[in-house]
Assembly symmetry: C2
């Protein structure tokens, strides 16, 4: 039986779902001669770790207890150390995480899985790379920080996976990596990578009013609590940067031209969410309606996309043919079109749900398993 | 520098394209610390192999000479042994192939790459699995032979890759494997996996006459020399069997219900190709037109698909919604829709060119590189 040791950072929705998947897949993985051993779990303040990480792991009861505590909104630190596990907090927690990486990285092997949404994991991740650890990310922040951090994280390309940073479990990164490995040059990548903005654009394209669609999306839980966090395009821009860097561009977030769907004067520093929804948003209807009408008169539709072509990387509204994969998009699915030598006139298209804890955690789990040949 | 040793079986269009990709990707792979070493190449009668396979390989000049000889229609056996390489023929060729597998399988590692379209490679492939060799297939025959052969070939699941057996380079197998590994149960898989039949069905759906579309497809080089080889559905059935077995069904080719687009009395044992095109084919127009008209009156279209659902696997014409990914299909692209827990109402969709030597060989090359962690 091959053991894959895992240290999980972040136990929000995705992290907890991952722990549940790990437990529920035990017998499936056993049939494949594999056992996933979760040796420790971090939240922002604490680290719960097996007492002897070389020999032990957190058992399934502990993993389920972690899920229970975290979904009730409590911190891991409310768990007590027992004979089998210890809890560390604050500074001591980081030291103990690095000790674990040092002990296991080059012996049994260890995968650091980052399911947080924080920049604070970057320091640890860049250190554990040199300790022989592997990295699996759902968190976009580590790959969209400085170029120096990026180069460090991908310095052992076979030791890192990050499918769930773009399009949740959709096979986007996997497919791009396969195309790149086979020497097929990618000319252009264009995608609708925000379920929220995909939904908004297709509904407005069907004749609904922009402000009403955004409010409906908020009610349906498609948007962040402040919809401007979606409408500003920053989430799409991080995904665009991850794709652009994967394709070889050595650029930063501020090299990407981003179109926000609301103007600066409606920013969160100037308007409350309520004020924005009631008074700001309706002022944007006319302009966006006009743009849709112009596009429609050209037989086209508007989509909010990221487009990477050569060294250029842009995020914003683009006019696209009605009958292209992006133009036909409805609802909150993500779509990516990849054009290369092999997919020259008609692109390789990947489409499907690009968000959700279940799908994101499934992508993370597939990434972990994809590292198995590196484990003794 | 990590070495991946390769033994290529079959140097038709795909095999030759693979050799060209290997040579043209030298510097790309060197940057990743990799070198692909082709130690030997087989055609149906002969085996050209480096004189000392532990230390040597066929150099790029030899690989290009192989491409030249084979594309001129000659046999490998017309090449002479030199100081650096030896040629073996017939029985001696098979013995020497197995000697090479024995020598390298558990030492340096060796990937057997089958780019032939023959059943004759199965004997060798099932033997080299036990010698520690890895297998990469573009050839569908080994995976669609007896269940006993199949189980043998996949007995070390991490040692086999076969992306290019379905949809050429499209990430079909990779994506299904990721979904399966993450414990996300796949309920239904439905796809148009023949570029030829995809083209025929969409053109007929657009109002053209079946017999004229098939003749046009033959002129465009979309069909086999005898279009009945496509219209009978056997190629799609092999792909369906590969997918069904991957999804866990332990079935054989004759367990699959296949609908042929021509009746037995127009089989190649009863009618010449010319007779079929001139006199057989037009007799089929009326029936297929009627079926399209009925579908259309339901707001649907007809597509020639394979569908795997639970333990059932079917190949034939199916009525599908006009605005589904399959219904919207035009031209010769392949499309696969995957429904699972994570992709329940709206499927994960993979679409793109599913044929062509370049794309197929690119998929084979990506598969070879995906095995790199197994090499010392």
């Amino acid at each position: 039986m091959k053991s894959i040791r895992v240290l999980l950072m972040g136990c929000g929705g995705v992290g907890r779902q991952l722990l549940q998947h790990v437990v529920s897949c035990r017998s499936l993985h056993a049939k494949q001669g594999l056992r996933l051993r979760v040796v420790g779990v971090c939240d922002s303040k604490s680290f719960l770790v097996a007492s002897d990480v070389s020999k032990m792991e957190l058992d399934d009861a502990s993993l389920m207890e972690i899920c229970r505590v975290k979904s009730s909104g409590s911190s891991l630190s409310t768990l007590n150390s027992s004979g089998d596990s210890q809890i560390f907090t604050n500074m001591e927690s980081t030291r103990k995480v690095l000790d674990t990486a040092t002990l296991l990285g080059r012996s049994t092997g260890l995968v650091f899985v980052d399911c947080s949404a924080s920049s604070e994991t970057i320091g640890v991740l860049t250190q554990v790379v040199d300790l022989g650890c592997c990295i699996v990310l759902a968190n976009k922040k580590p790959l969209t920080s400085s170029l120096e951090d990026y180069e460090k994280l991908v310095s052992h390309p076979r030791h890192i996976r990050h499918e769930s940073t773009v399009g949740a479990g959709l096979p986007v990164i996997t497919s791009l990596n396969r195309i790149l490995a086979s020497g097929d040059p990618i000319h252009r990548t264009i995608g609708s990578l925000s379920g929220t903005l995909g939904y908004v654009m297709s509904e407005v394209g069907d004749g609904k009013q922009f402000s009403e669609v955004v409010k409906a999306a908020k009610c349906l839980g498609y948007t962040e609590p402040d919809p401007r966090d979606d409408l500003g395009g920053m989430d799409v821009t991080r995904k665009a940067l991850i794709l652009a860097r994967l394709l070889g561009s050595r650029i930063n977030l501020d090299n990407i031209k981003v179109e926000s769907l609301y103007p600066d004067e409606m920013g969160s520093d100037r308007m409350s969410v309520e004020d924005f929804l009631a008074n700001g948003l309706p002022l944007l209807n006319k302009d966006i309606e006009t743009r849709f009408r112009v596009a429609s008169s050209n037989g086209n539709v508007l989509r909010y996309v990221c487009m990477i072509e050569g060294s250029s990387c842009q995020v914003g509204i683009k006019e696209l043919p009605k009958d292209s994969p992006l133009g036909r998009l409805r609802g909150s699915d993500n779509v990516l079109e990849i054009y290369s030598r092999c997919y020259r006139d008609l692109p390789l298209v990947i489409q499907g749900a690009g968000a959700g804890n279940d799908t994101t955690a499934a992508g993370v789990l597939a990434d972990i398993l994809d590292l198995q040949d590196l484990f003794p």
